[in-house]
Protein backbone atom coordinates (compact mmCIF):
# COMPACT_ATOMS: atom_id res chain seq x y z
CA UNK A 1 0.00 0.00 0.00
CA UNK A 2 1.15 3.46 -0.72
CA UNK A 3 1.15 5.91 2.07
CA UNK A 4 -0.19 9.09 0.54
CA UNK A 5 -0.15 11.06 3.73
CA UNK A 6 2.70 13.55 3.81
CA UNK A 7 4.89 13.75 6.85
CA UNK A 8 3.25 15.72 9.56
CA UNK A 9 4.72 19.24 9.45
CA UNK A 10 6.73 20.37 12.42
CA UNK A 11 5.56 23.67 13.93
CA UNK A 12 8.57 25.50 12.47
CA UNK A 13 7.98 24.10 8.97
CA UNK A 14 4.30 24.98 9.24
CA UNK A 15 5.21 28.57 10.03
CA UNK A 16 7.60 28.70 7.09
CA UNK A 17 4.94 27.25 4.81
CA UNK A 18 2.36 29.74 5.99
CA UNK A 19 4.65 32.55 4.87
CA UNK A 20 4.48 31.03 1.36
CA UNK A 21 7.27 33.24 0.08
CA UNK A 22 9.88 31.65 -2.14
CA UNK A 23 13.27 32.08 -0.64
CA UNK A 24 16.08 31.64 -3.18
CA UNK A 25 18.57 31.30 -0.38
CA UNK A 26 16.72 28.26 0.99
CA UNK A 27 16.39 26.80 -2.51
CA UNK A 28 20.06 27.10 -3.36
CA UNK A 29 21.59 26.58 0.08
CA UNK A 30 19.39 24.32 2.17
CA UNK A 31 22.31 22.83 4.09
CA UNK A 32 24.53 25.82 4.60
CA UNK A 33 27.48 23.90 3.21
CA UNK A 34 29.44 25.93 0.60
CA UNK A 35 30.22 22.96 -1.64
CA UNK A 36 26.57 21.93 -1.67
CA UNK A 37 25.50 25.46 -2.48
CA UNK A 38 27.85 25.64 -5.49
CA UNK A 39 26.75 22.19 -6.64
CA UNK A 40 23.08 23.09 -6.38
CA UNK A 41 23.59 26.41 -8.13
CA UNK A 42 25.24 24.74 -11.11
CA UNK A 43 22.46 22.18 -11.43
CA UNK A 44 19.86 24.90 -11.05
CA UNK A 45 21.53 26.88 -13.84
CA UNK A 46 21.51 23.83 -16.13
CA UNK A 47 17.79 23.33 -15.63
CA UNK A 48 17.12 27.04 -15.98
CA UNK A 49 19.00 27.26 -19.32
CA UNK A 50 16.57 24.80 -20.86
CA UNK A 51 13.61 26.90 -19.81
CA UNK A 52 15.39 30.00 -21.10
CA UNK A 53 15.95 28.43 -24.52
CA UNK A 54 12.25 27.65 -24.89
CA UNK A 55 11.29 31.18 -23.88
CA UNK A 56 13.85 32.72 -26.27
CA UNK A 57 12.63 30.50 -29.11
CA UNK A 58 9.00 31.46 -28.68
CA UNK A 59 9.93 35.11 -28.20
CA UNK A 60 12.19 35.29 -31.26
CA UNK A 61 9.64 33.59 -33.47
CA UNK A 62 6.83 35.78 -32.23
CA UNK A 63 8.83 38.98 -32.81
CA UNK A 64 10.06 37.93 -36.25
CA UNK A 65 6.65 36.89 -37.44
CA UNK A 66 5.21 40.29 -36.58
CA UNK A 67 5.47 41.71 -40.16
CA UNK A 68 3.52 38.75 -41.49
CA UNK A 69 1.02 38.93 -38.64
CA UNK A 70 0.47 42.62 -39.35
CA UNK A 71 0.16 42.13 -43.12
CA UNK A 72 -2.23 39.15 -43.16
CA UNK A 73 -3.65 38.86 -39.66
CA UNK A 74 -6.00 35.92 -39.21
CA UNK A 75 -6.31 35.60 -43.01
CA UNK A 76 -2.91 33.92 -42.99
CA UNK A 77 -4.53 30.74 -41.72
CA UNK A 78 -7.38 30.73 -44.24
CA UNK A 79 -5.76 31.94 -47.46
CA UNK A 80 -4.83 29.36 -50.06
CA UNK A 81 -2.47 31.55 -52.01
CA UNK A 82 1.28 31.13 -51.51
CA UNK A 83 2.90 33.46 -54.00
CA UNK A 84 6.29 34.81 -52.92
CA UNK A 85 6.67 36.90 -56.11
CA UNK A 86 3.39 38.71 -55.57
CA UNK A 87 4.09 38.92 -51.85
CA UNK A 88 0.92 36.94 -51.01
CA UNK A 89 1.26 34.37 -48.26
CA UNK A 90 -1.46 32.00 -47.05
CA UNK A 91 -0.84 28.93 -44.88
CA UNK A 92 -3.93 26.84 -45.63
CA UNK A 93 -2.37 24.42 -48.18
CA UNK A 94 0.43 23.61 -45.73
CA UNK A 95 -1.95 23.20 -42.81
CA UNK A 96 -4.13 20.95 -45.00
CA UNK A 97 -1.15 18.88 -46.15
CA UNK A 98 0.19 18.54 -42.63
CA UNK A 99 -3.13 17.49 -41.11
CA UNK A 100 -4.10 15.11 -43.89
CA UNK A 101 -0.74 13.35 -44.15
CA UNK A 102 -0.65 12.97 -40.35
CA UNK A 103 -4.21 11.62 -40.15
CA UNK A 104 -3.50 9.18 -42.97
CA UNK A 105 -0.40 8.05 -41.08
CA UNK A 106 -2.43 7.52 -37.90
CA UNK A 107 -5.14 5.67 -39.80
CA UNK A 108 -2.59 3.11 -40.96
CA UNK A 109 -0.29 3.10 -37.97
CA UNK A 110 -2.67 2.91 -35.00
CA UNK A 111 -4.17 -0.54 -35.68
CA UNK A 112 -0.76 -1.86 -36.63
CA UNK A 113 0.94 -0.47 -33.52
CA UNK A 114 -1.81 -1.71 -31.21
CA UNK A 115 -1.51 -5.16 -32.76
CA UNK A 116 2.25 -5.28 -32.30
CA UNK A 117 2.11 -3.94 -28.74
CA UNK A 118 -0.65 -6.34 -27.66
CA UNK A 119 1.25 -9.21 -29.19
CA UNK A 120 4.46 -8.22 -27.39
CA UNK A 121 2.86 -7.76 -23.97
CA UNK A 122 0.03 -10.29 -23.91
CA UNK A 123 0.95 -13.08 -26.27
CA UNK A 124 4.59 -13.36 -27.24
CA UNK A 125 6.86 -15.63 -25.21
CA UNK A 126 9.53 -13.66 -23.40
CA UNK A 127 12.27 -15.03 -25.65
CA UNK A 128 10.55 -13.38 -28.61
CA UNK A 129 9.16 -10.25 -26.94
CA UNK A 130 12.60 -8.99 -25.88
CA UNK A 131 14.33 -9.01 -29.31
CA UNK A 132 11.24 -7.79 -31.16
CA UNK A 133 10.76 -5.00 -28.61
CA UNK A 134 14.40 -4.07 -29.06
CA UNK A 135 13.97 -4.01 -32.83
CA UNK A 136 10.97 -1.72 -32.50
CA UNK A 137 13.08 0.73 -30.50
CA UNK A 138 15.87 0.56 -33.08
CA UNK A 139 13.44 1.39 -35.87
CA UNK A 140 12.48 4.55 -34.02
CA UNK A 141 16.13 5.63 -34.09
CA UNK A 142 16.68 5.42 -37.87
CA UNK A 143 17.40 8.94 -39.24
CA UNK A 144 14.44 10.28 -41.14
CA UNK A 145 16.52 11.07 -44.24
CA UNK A 146 17.14 7.33 -44.57
CA UNK A 147 13.42 6.69 -44.49
CA UNK A 148 13.09 9.43 -47.12
CA UNK A 149 15.65 7.84 -49.46
CA UNK A 150 13.96 4.49 -49.09
CA UNK A 151 10.66 6.26 -49.73
CA UNK A 152 11.86 7.74 -53.02
CA UNK A 153 13.62 4.71 -54.41
CA UNK A 154 11.58 1.81 -53.09
CA UNK A 155 8.24 2.86 -51.64
CA UNK A 156 7.15 5.44 -54.25
CA UNK A 157 7.78 3.20 -57.30
CA UNK A 158 6.13 0.26 -55.55
CA UNK A 159 3.05 2.30 -54.72
CA UNK A 160 2.94 3.73 -58.24
CA UNK A 161 3.07 0.29 -59.83
CA UNK A 162 0.82 -1.73 -57.53
CA UNK A 163 -1.13 -0.14 -54.70
CA UNK A 164 -2.22 3.13 -56.26
CA UNK A 165 -3.57 1.64 -59.53
CA UNK A 166 -5.52 -0.94 -57.53
CA UNK A 167 -6.97 1.73 -55.26
CA UNK A 168 -7.89 3.84 -58.31
CA UNK A 169 -9.53 0.84 -59.90
CA UNK A 170 -11.59 -0.37 -56.95
CA UNK A 171 -12.16 2.85 -55.06
CA UNK A 172 -11.83 5.34 -57.93
CA UNK A 173 -15.41 6.45 -57.31
CA UNK A 174 -14.15 8.11 -54.10
CA UNK A 175 -12.60 11.53 -54.67
CA UNK A 176 -9.54 10.48 -52.62
CA UNK A 177 -8.40 7.99 -55.23
CA UNK A 178 -8.77 9.97 -58.42
CA UNK A 179 -6.19 11.85 -60.48
CA UNK A 180 -2.68 11.24 -61.74
CA UNK A 181 -0.77 8.33 -60.32
CA UNK A 182 2.84 9.38 -59.87
CA UNK A 183 3.86 7.65 -56.69
CA UNK A 184 4.83 11.05 -55.31
CA UNK A 185 2.13 12.77 -53.26
CA UNK A 186 0.07 12.84 -50.12
CA UNK A 187 -0.56 9.08 -50.14
CA UNK A 188 3.12 8.16 -50.19
CA UNK A 189 3.83 10.86 -47.61
CA UNK A 190 1.18 9.41 -45.29
CA UNK A 191 2.53 5.91 -45.65
CA UNK A 192 6.13 6.88 -44.98
CA UNK A 193 4.91 8.76 -41.91
CA UNK A 194 2.93 5.71 -40.82
CA UNK A 195 6.06 3.59 -41.04
CA UNK A 196 8.02 6.16 -39.06
CA UNK A 197 5.54 6.63 -36.21
CA UNK A 198 4.61 2.95 -35.81
CA UNK A 199 7.71 2.18 -33.69
CA UNK A 200 7.03 5.18 -31.45
CA UNK A 201 3.37 4.37 -30.85
CA UNK A 202 4.18 0.68 -30.42
CA UNK A 203 6.89 1.35 -27.85
CA UNK A 204 4.70 3.65 -25.76
CA UNK A 205 1.60 1.43 -25.96
CA UNK A 206 3.74 -1.54 -24.97
CA UNK A 207 4.95 0.30 -21.87
CA UNK A 208 1.40 1.40 -21.06
CA UNK A 209 0.03 -2.15 -21.34
CA UNK A 210 2.91 -3.52 -19.29
CA UNK A 211 2.05 -0.99 -16.56
CA UNK A 212 -1.50 -2.36 -16.21
CA UNK A 213 -1.43 -4.42 -12.99
CA UNK A 214 -1.35 -8.21 -13.29
CA UNK A 215 -4.23 -8.24 -10.80
CA UNK A 216 -6.53 -6.80 -13.49
CA UNK A 217 -5.69 -9.63 -15.87
CA UNK A 218 -6.13 -12.20 -13.10
CA UNK A 219 -9.51 -10.69 -12.18
CA UNK A 220 -10.71 -11.20 -15.73
CA UNK A 221 -9.22 -14.69 -16.11
CA UNK A 222 -10.73 -15.77 -12.79
CA UNK A 223 -14.21 -14.89 -14.10
CA UNK A 224 -13.82 -17.10 -17.13
CA UNK A 225 -12.58 -14.46 -19.54
CA UNK A 226 -10.82 -15.57 -22.69
CA UNK A 227 -7.47 -14.15 -23.74
CA UNK A 228 -9.28 -11.68 -26.00
CA UNK A 229 -11.69 -10.58 -23.28
CA UNK A 230 -8.82 -10.17 -20.83
CA UNK A 231 -6.93 -8.10 -23.41
CA UNK A 232 -9.96 -5.84 -23.66
CA UNK A 233 -9.87 -5.31 -19.90
CA UNK A 234 -6.19 -4.41 -20.19
CA UNK A 235 -6.93 -2.00 -23.05
CA UNK A 236 -9.70 -0.36 -21.01
CA UNK A 237 -7.27 0.10 -18.16
CA UNK A 238 -4.68 1.65 -20.43
CA UNK A 239 -7.09 3.68 -22.56
CA UNK A 240 -5.75 7.08 -21.50
CA UNK A 241 -2.17 5.99 -22.06
CA UNK A 242 -2.99 4.51 -25.45
CA UNK A 243 -4.63 7.79 -26.43
CA UNK A 244 -1.45 9.50 -25.25
CA UNK A 245 0.70 7.20 -27.37
CA UNK A 246 -1.41 7.94 -30.44
CA UNK A 247 -1.21 11.69 -29.85
CA UNK A 248 2.54 11.36 -29.36
CA UNK A 249 2.72 9.69 -32.77
CA UNK A 250 0.58 12.46 -34.18
CA UNK A 251 3.00 15.03 -32.79
CA UNK A 252 5.90 13.27 -34.46
CA UNK A 253 3.99 13.03 -37.75
CA UNK A 254 3.09 16.71 -37.72
CA UNK A 255 6.66 17.81 -37.12
CA UNK A 256 8.39 15.25 -39.33
CA UNK A 257 10.28 17.02 -42.09
CA UNK A 258 12.89 15.27 -44.15
CA UNK A 259 11.25 12.00 -45.19
CA UNK A 260 7.97 13.71 -46.01
CA UNK A 261 9.65 16.47 -48.01
CA UNK A 262 11.32 13.81 -50.13
CA UNK A 263 8.12 12.02 -51.15
CA UNK A 264 5.17 14.37 -50.82
CA UNK A 265 5.72 16.36 -54.00
CA UNK A 266 5.99 19.84 -52.48
CA UNK A 267 3.22 21.69 -54.27
CA UNK A 268 1.15 24.22 -52.33
CA UNK A 269 -2.30 23.07 -53.34
CA UNK A 270 -5.42 21.65 -51.79
CA UNK A 271 -6.75 18.61 -53.58
CA UNK A 272 -9.15 15.94 -52.42
CA UNK A 273 -7.08 13.32 -54.20
CA UNK A 274 -4.47 11.59 -52.07
CA UNK A 275 -2.43 10.87 -55.19
CA UNK A 276 -1.81 14.57 -55.84
CA UNK A 277 1.35 16.28 -54.59
CA UNK A 278 0.93 18.22 -51.39
CA UNK A 279 3.05 20.24 -48.99
CA UNK A 280 3.47 20.28 -45.21
CA UNK A 281 4.47 23.13 -42.91
CA UNK A 282 7.71 21.41 -41.98
CA UNK A 283 8.55 20.74 -45.64
CA UNK A 284 7.98 24.31 -46.80
CA UNK A 285 10.22 25.58 -43.99
CA UNK A 286 13.01 23.21 -44.98
CA UNK A 287 12.67 23.97 -48.68
CA UNK A 288 12.19 27.71 -48.78
CA UNK A 289 14.05 29.41 -45.93
CA UNK A 290 17.23 29.74 -48.02
CA UNK A 291 15.40 31.51 -50.84
CA UNK A 292 13.29 33.73 -48.62
CA UNK A 293 14.64 37.08 -49.71
CA UNK A 294 12.08 39.65 -48.63
CA UNK A 295 11.32 40.50 -45.03
CA UNK A 296 7.68 39.53 -45.47
CA UNK A 297 8.56 36.17 -47.06
CA UNK A 298 10.87 35.27 -44.18
CA UNK A 299 8.36 36.53 -41.67
CA UNK A 300 5.62 34.37 -43.21
CA UNK A 301 7.86 31.31 -42.94
CA UNK A 302 8.66 32.14 -39.33
CA UNK A 303 4.96 32.46 -38.59
CA UNK A 304 4.49 29.00 -40.07
CA UNK A 305 7.28 27.83 -37.78
CA UNK A 306 5.55 29.39 -34.80
CA UNK A 307 2.29 27.63 -35.67
CA UNK A 308 4.11 24.30 -36.00
CA UNK A 309 5.96 24.88 -32.74
CA UNK A 310 2.83 25.68 -30.75
CA UNK A 311 0.83 22.82 -32.24
CA UNK A 312 3.49 20.16 -31.64
CA UNK A 313 4.25 21.58 -28.20
CA UNK A 314 0.60 21.29 -27.18
CA UNK A 315 0.07 17.91 -28.80
CA UNK A 316 3.14 16.44 -27.11
CA UNK A 317 2.22 17.98 -23.78
CA UNK A 318 -1.24 16.43 -23.85
CA UNK A 319 0.22 13.09 -24.92
CA UNK A 320 2.78 13.01 -22.08
CA UNK A 321 0.09 13.89 -19.57
CA UNK A 322 -2.13 11.02 -20.72
CA UNK A 323 0.67 8.46 -20.69
CA UNK A 324 1.80 9.67 -17.28
CA UNK A 325 -1.71 9.38 -15.87
CA UNK A 326 -1.82 5.64 -16.62
CA UNK A 327 1.63 4.94 -15.25
CA UNK A 328 0.70 6.63 -11.98
CA UNK A 329 -2.77 5.20 -11.58
CA UNK A 330 -1.25 1.77 -12.01
CA UNK A 331 1.15 2.50 -9.13
CA UNK A 332 -0.67 0.27 -6.64
CA UNK A 333 -0.18 -2.87 -8.68
CA UNK A 334 -0.07 -6.23 -7.00
CA UNK A 335 0.80 -9.65 -8.25
CA UNK A 336 -0.89 -11.46 -5.39
CA UNK A 337 1.39 -14.40 -5.39
CA UNK A 338 2.62 -14.35 -1.83
CA UNK A 339 2.34 -17.29 0.54
Amino acid sequence: MRNLQPNAPTPAAAQGASARSWNWRRTLAPTGNTGDTVFRSILFACAFILLLIVIIMIGAMAVNSLPSLRAFGFGFLTSQEWNPIAGKFGALPFIYGTILSSLLALFISVPLSLGIAIFLVEQAPRALARPVGFLVELLAAIPSVVYGLWGIFVLAPALRETVEPSLARWFGWLPFFQGNITGIGLFTGGIILAIMITPIITAVVRDVLAAVPVSQREAAFALGATKWETTRVVLTNGAAGIAGAIILGLGRAIGETMAVTMVIGNRAQISASLFEPSYTIASVLANEFTEATGELYLSALIELGLILFLVTFTVNGVARLLVWSVAHRAGGSSVGRAG
Binding site: M1, P125, R126, P213, S215, Q216, R217, E218, A219, A220, F221, A222, L223, G224, A225, T226, E229, V233, T236, N237, S334, G336, R337, A338, G339
Partner: protein, 284 residues
Amino acid sequence: MATPTSTTASVKSATETMQERTRAFENDRESRVAAKVSVRELDFFYGRAQALHKISLDVGSQIVMAFIGPSGCGKSTFLRTLNRMNDTIPGTRVEGSVQIDGQDIYAPGTDVVELRRRVGMVFQKSNPFPKSIFDNVAYGLRINKLTSSKTELSDRVEEALTNAALWPEVKDRLKASALSLSGGQQQRLCIARALAVRPEVILMDEPASALDPIATQKIEELIVELKRQYTIVIVTHNMQQAARVSDETAFFWLGKLVEVNSTEQMFTNPNEKLTEDYITGRFG
Protein backbone atom coordinates in the same frame (compact mmCIF):
# COMPACT_ATOMS: atom_id res chain seq x y z
CA MET B 1 3.22 -59.78 -8.30
CA ALA B 2 3.96 -63.42 -7.75
CA THR B 3 7.13 -64.67 -9.25
CA PRO B 4 7.67 -68.28 -10.45
CA THR B 5 9.93 -69.03 -7.51
CA SER B 6 7.61 -67.84 -4.79
CA THR B 7 6.03 -70.16 -2.24
CA THR B 8 2.30 -70.69 -1.78
CA ALA B 9 2.33 -68.57 1.34
CA SER B 10 3.97 -65.69 -0.36
CA VAL B 11 1.58 -65.99 -3.31
CA LYS B 12 -1.28 -65.78 -0.86
CA SER B 13 0.17 -62.78 0.87
CA ALA B 14 0.82 -61.13 -2.46
CA THR B 15 -2.80 -61.72 -3.44
CA GLU B 16 -3.94 -60.27 -0.17
CA THR B 17 -1.75 -57.28 -0.69
CA MET B 18 -3.26 -56.81 -4.10
CA GLN B 19 -6.76 -57.12 -2.75
CA GLU B 20 -5.95 -54.63 -0.07
CA ARG B 21 -4.57 -52.29 -2.62
CA THR B 22 -7.64 -52.67 -4.78
CA ARG B 23 -9.85 -52.01 -1.80
CA ALA B 24 -7.78 -49.00 -0.83
CA PHE B 25 -7.97 -47.79 -4.40
CA GLU B 26 -11.73 -48.21 -4.48
CA ASN B 27 -12.16 -46.48 -1.14
CA ASP B 28 -9.99 -43.77 -2.49
CA ARG B 29 -12.03 -43.54 -5.67
CA GLU B 30 -15.24 -43.35 -3.66
CA SER B 31 -13.84 -40.59 -1.54
CA ARG B 32 -12.67 -38.80 -4.67
CA VAL B 33 -16.10 -39.04 -6.26
CA ALA B 34 -17.73 -37.80 -3.06
CA ALA B 35 -15.29 -34.92 -2.77
CA LYS B 36 -15.90 -31.71 -4.69
CA VAL B 37 -12.21 -31.15 -5.23
CA SER B 38 -9.81 -34.04 -5.16
CA VAL B 39 -6.06 -33.67 -5.55
CA ARG B 40 -3.57 -36.50 -5.89
CA GLU B 41 0.23 -36.44 -5.88
CA LEU B 42 0.43 -32.89 -7.09
CA ASP B 43 3.86 -31.46 -7.83
CA PHE B 44 4.30 -27.90 -8.93
CA PHE B 45 7.34 -26.18 -10.39
CA TYR B 46 8.32 -22.58 -11.00
CA GLY B 47 10.92 -23.22 -13.68
CA ARG B 48 13.29 -25.67 -11.96
CA ALA B 49 12.27 -24.80 -8.42
CA GLN B 50 9.75 -27.23 -7.00
CA ALA B 51 7.15 -25.32 -4.99
CA LEU B 52 4.78 -28.16 -4.11
CA HIS B 53 5.63 -31.77 -3.27
CA LYS B 54 3.17 -34.61 -3.71
CA ILE B 55 0.09 -32.92 -2.35
CA SER B 56 -2.98 -35.14 -1.93
CA LEU B 57 -6.12 -33.62 -0.51
CA ASP B 58 -9.92 -33.87 -0.75
CA VAL B 59 -12.28 -30.97 -0.21
CA GLY B 60 -15.88 -31.94 0.50
CA SER B 61 -18.91 -30.24 -0.88
CA GLN B 62 -20.32 -27.14 0.84
CA ILE B 63 -17.64 -26.81 3.45
CA VAL B 64 -15.01 -24.20 4.16
CA MET B 65 -11.46 -25.45 4.11
CA ALA B 66 -8.70 -23.18 5.34
CA PHE B 67 -5.06 -23.41 4.23
CA ILE B 68 -2.61 -22.22 6.85
CA GLY B 69 1.16 -22.12 6.99
CA PRO B 70 4.06 -19.70 7.03
CA SER B 71 4.78 -17.33 4.11
CA GLY B 72 6.23 -19.07 1.09
CA CYS B 73 4.96 -22.50 2.12
CA GLY B 74 3.07 -22.92 -1.14
CA LYS B 75 -0.51 -22.52 0.06
CA SER B 76 -1.34 -19.71 -2.41
CA THR B 77 0.41 -21.57 -5.19
CA PHE B 78 -1.63 -24.65 -4.36
CA LEU B 79 -4.85 -22.64 -4.28
CA ARG B 80 -4.05 -21.29 -7.73
CA THR B 81 -3.57 -24.79 -9.15
CA LEU B 82 -7.25 -25.46 -8.42
CA ASN B 83 -8.49 -23.09 -11.13
CA ARG B 84 -5.33 -23.28 -13.25
CA MET B 85 -4.56 -19.65 -12.52
CA ASN B 86 -0.87 -20.53 -12.51
CA ASP B 87 -1.18 -21.21 -16.23
CA THR B 88 -0.91 -17.46 -16.72
CA ILE B 89 2.62 -17.45 -15.25
CA PRO B 90 5.22 -18.47 -17.83
CA GLY B 91 7.56 -21.31 -16.92
CA THR B 92 5.30 -23.13 -14.48
CA ARG B 93 4.57 -26.85 -14.60
CA VAL B 94 2.11 -29.17 -12.87
CA GLU B 95 2.30 -32.92 -12.32
CA GLY B 96 -0.29 -35.11 -10.65
CA SER B 97 -4.03 -34.76 -10.85
CA VAL B 98 -6.70 -32.35 -9.71
CA GLN B 99 -10.27 -33.52 -10.10
CA ILE B 100 -13.35 -31.40 -9.69
CA ASP B 101 -16.54 -33.47 -9.60
CA GLY B 102 -14.43 -36.38 -10.83
CA GLN B 103 -13.11 -34.57 -13.88
CA ASP B 104 -9.38 -34.04 -14.22
CA ILE B 105 -8.93 -30.33 -14.84
CA TYR B 106 -5.42 -30.82 -16.19
CA ALA B 107 -6.55 -33.37 -18.78
CA PRO B 108 -5.77 -32.31 -22.34
CA GLY B 109 -8.70 -30.57 -23.96
CA THR B 110 -10.02 -29.10 -20.72
CA ASP B 111 -11.82 -25.83 -21.32
CA VAL B 112 -9.94 -23.57 -18.90
CA VAL B 113 -12.35 -20.70 -19.48
CA GLU B 114 -15.29 -22.90 -18.42
CA LEU B 115 -13.27 -24.25 -15.48
CA ARG B 116 -12.61 -20.75 -14.16
CA ARG B 117 -16.28 -19.91 -14.43
CA ARG B 118 -17.04 -22.91 -12.22
CA VAL B 119 -14.18 -22.23 -9.83
CA GLY B 120 -14.29 -18.56 -8.86
CA MET B 121 -11.52 -16.69 -7.17
CA VAL B 122 -11.12 -13.75 -4.80
CA PHE B 123 -7.67 -12.24 -4.50
CA GLN B 124 -5.61 -10.88 -1.64
CA LYS B 125 -5.82 -7.32 -2.86
CA SER B 126 -9.18 -6.24 -4.16
CA ASN B 127 -8.97 -5.77 -7.90
CA PRO B 128 -12.17 -4.20 -9.21
CA PHE B 129 -12.16 -3.09 -12.83
CA PRO B 130 -12.11 0.66 -13.39
CA LYS B 131 -15.80 0.50 -14.31
CA SER B 132 -19.06 1.13 -12.50
CA ILE B 133 -20.18 -1.04 -9.59
CA PHE B 134 -22.88 -2.57 -11.76
CA ASP B 135 -20.54 -3.30 -14.68
CA ASN B 136 -18.04 -4.97 -12.37
CA VAL B 137 -20.59 -7.47 -11.10
CA ALA B 138 -22.13 -7.88 -14.55
CA TYR B 139 -18.76 -8.53 -16.19
CA GLY B 140 -18.67 -12.31 -15.72
CA LEU B 141 -22.34 -12.63 -16.68
CA ARG B 142 -21.78 -10.66 -19.86
CA ILE B 143 -18.64 -12.37 -21.11
CA ASN B 144 -20.04 -15.80 -20.38
CA LYS B 145 -23.43 -14.79 -21.84
CA LEU B 146 -25.24 -16.17 -18.81
CA THR B 147 -28.27 -13.91 -19.00
CA SER B 148 -30.73 -13.47 -21.80
CA SER B 149 -32.29 -10.13 -20.94
CA LYS B 150 -31.47 -6.83 -19.25
CA THR B 151 -33.91 -7.55 -16.44
CA GLU B 152 -32.30 -10.91 -15.80
CA LEU B 153 -28.89 -9.26 -15.82
CA SER B 154 -29.85 -6.66 -13.23
CA ASP B 155 -31.59 -9.33 -11.15
CA ARG B 156 -28.44 -11.43 -11.10
CA VAL B 157 -26.33 -8.39 -10.22
CA GLU B 158 -28.67 -7.55 -7.36
CA GLU B 159 -28.65 -11.15 -6.18
CA ALA B 160 -24.86 -11.27 -6.19
CA LEU B 161 -24.51 -7.95 -4.38
CA THR B 162 -27.10 -9.09 -1.82
CA ASN B 163 -25.25 -12.37 -1.24
CA ALA B 164 -22.04 -10.43 -0.81
CA ALA B 165 -23.79 -8.24 1.82
CA LEU B 166 -23.08 -5.13 -0.21
CA TRP B 167 -26.47 -4.37 -1.75
CA PRO B 168 -27.81 -1.97 0.94
CA GLU B 169 -24.63 0.10 0.71
CA VAL B 170 -24.50 0.45 -3.07
CA LYS B 171 -28.06 0.06 -4.33
CA ASP B 172 -28.44 3.81 -4.87
CA ARG B 173 -25.17 4.27 -6.73
CA LEU B 174 -24.69 1.30 -9.01
CA LYS B 175 -23.41 3.60 -11.71
CA ALA B 176 -20.67 5.05 -9.51
CA SER B 177 -17.11 3.93 -10.14
CA ALA B 178 -16.08 0.82 -8.24
CA LEU B 179 -12.91 2.65 -7.28
CA SER B 180 -14.97 5.10 -5.20
CA LEU B 181 -15.78 2.34 -2.68
CA SER B 182 -13.79 1.75 0.51
CA GLY B 183 -11.25 -1.08 0.67
CA GLY B 184 -13.62 -3.44 2.47
CA GLN B 185 -16.46 -2.61 0.09
CA GLN B 186 -14.18 -3.18 -2.91
CA GLN B 187 -13.29 -6.62 -1.61
CA ARG B 188 -16.97 -7.48 -1.09
CA LEU B 189 -17.60 -6.19 -4.60
CA CYS B 190 -14.97 -8.61 -5.87
CA ILE B 191 -16.72 -11.39 -3.97
CA ALA B 192 -20.05 -10.32 -5.53
CA ARG B 193 -18.38 -10.33 -8.95
CA ALA B 194 -17.18 -13.88 -8.34
CA LEU B 195 -20.61 -14.97 -7.01
CA ALA B 196 -22.52 -13.50 -9.94
CA VAL B 197 -21.52 -16.29 -12.32
CA ARG B 198 -22.68 -18.84 -9.70
CA PRO B 199 -19.47 -20.82 -9.38
CA GLU B 200 -19.42 -24.16 -7.58
CA VAL B 201 -16.17 -23.57 -5.76
CA ILE B 202 -14.78 -20.25 -4.52
CA LEU B 203 -11.08 -19.85 -3.90
CA MET B 204 -10.08 -17.02 -1.60
CA ASP B 205 -6.47 -15.95 -1.35
CA GLU B 206 -6.12 -14.10 1.96
CA PRO B 207 -9.27 -12.12 1.19
CA ALA B 208 -9.15 -10.04 4.38
CA SER B 209 -5.43 -9.49 4.88
CA ALA B 210 -5.57 -5.90 3.61
CA LEU B 211 -8.67 -4.94 5.56
CA ASP B 212 -9.38 -3.39 8.93
CA PRO B 213 -10.97 -5.53 11.71
CA ILE B 214 -14.55 -4.43 11.01
CA ALA B 215 -14.32 -5.10 7.28
CA THR B 216 -12.58 -8.39 8.10
CA GLN B 217 -15.42 -9.40 10.37
CA LYS B 218 -17.92 -8.70 7.61
CA ILE B 219 -15.99 -10.85 5.15
CA GLU B 220 -15.78 -13.67 7.70
CA GLU B 221 -19.52 -13.57 8.38
CA LEU B 222 -20.03 -13.64 4.64
CA ILE B 223 -17.86 -16.73 4.22
CA VAL B 224 -19.82 -18.62 6.86
CA GLU B 225 -23.03 -17.56 5.12
CA LEU B 226 -21.80 -18.55 1.66
CA LYS B 227 -20.88 -22.05 2.84
CA ARG B 228 -24.52 -23.10 2.47
CA GLN B 229 -24.31 -22.83 -1.28
CA TYR B 230 -20.66 -23.06 -2.17
CA THR B 231 -17.51 -24.99 -1.49
CA ILE B 232 -14.97 -22.50 -0.22
CA VAL B 233 -11.21 -22.80 0.04
CA ILE B 234 -9.53 -19.97 1.85
CA VAL B 235 -5.86 -19.20 2.33
CA THR B 236 -5.18 -17.25 5.48
CA HIS B 237 -2.26 -16.07 7.56
CA ASN B 238 -4.55 -15.49 10.44
CA MET B 239 -5.07 -18.62 12.51
CA GLN B 240 -7.94 -17.14 14.50
CA GLN B 241 -9.62 -16.51 11.18
CA ALA B 242 -9.08 -20.11 10.10
CA ALA B 243 -10.52 -21.26 13.42
CA ARG B 244 -13.51 -18.95 13.11
CA VAL B 245 -14.62 -19.65 9.54
CA SER B 246 -13.47 -23.10 8.51
CA ASP B 247 -14.72 -26.63 8.98
CA GLU B 248 -11.46 -28.24 7.96
CA THR B 249 -7.93 -26.96 7.97
CA ALA B 250 -4.86 -27.96 5.98
CA PHE B 251 -1.39 -27.04 7.23
CA PHE B 252 1.34 -26.49 4.64
CA TRP B 253 5.02 -26.29 5.37
CA LEU B 254 7.87 -25.91 2.86
CA GLY B 255 5.73 -26.97 -0.10
CA LYS B 256 4.41 -30.06 1.66
CA LEU B 257 1.02 -30.80 3.14
CA VAL B 258 1.72 -31.68 6.76
CA GLU B 259 -1.77 -32.31 8.07
CA VAL B 260 -5.42 -32.05 7.08
CA ASN B 261 -7.94 -32.30 9.84
CA SER B 262 -11.20 -30.96 11.12
CA THR B 263 -10.54 -27.44 12.29
CA GLU B 264 -11.56 -28.28 15.83
CA GLN B 265 -9.16 -31.18 16.02
CA MET B 266 -6.42 -29.19 14.32
CA PHE B 267 -6.51 -26.39 16.83
CA THR B 268 -7.07 -28.51 19.96
CA ASN B 269 -5.24 -31.74 19.37
CA PRO B 270 -3.31 -31.89 16.08
CA ASN B 271 -1.84 -35.19 14.92
CA GLU B 272 1.52 -33.78 13.98
CA LYS B 273 4.09 -32.21 16.25
CA LEU B 274 4.96 -29.70 13.50
CA THR B 275 1.35 -28.50 13.32
CA GLU B 276 1.23 -28.03 17.05
CA ASP B 277 4.47 -26.08 17.02
CA TYR B 278 3.17 -23.78 14.29
CA ILE B 279 -0.24 -23.24 15.84
CA THR B 280 1.19 -22.52 19.25
CA GLY B 281 3.53 -20.02 17.67
CA ARG B 282 6.82 -21.83 18.25
CA PHE B 283 7.90 -20.91 14.69
CA GLY B 284 6.54 -19.25 11.57
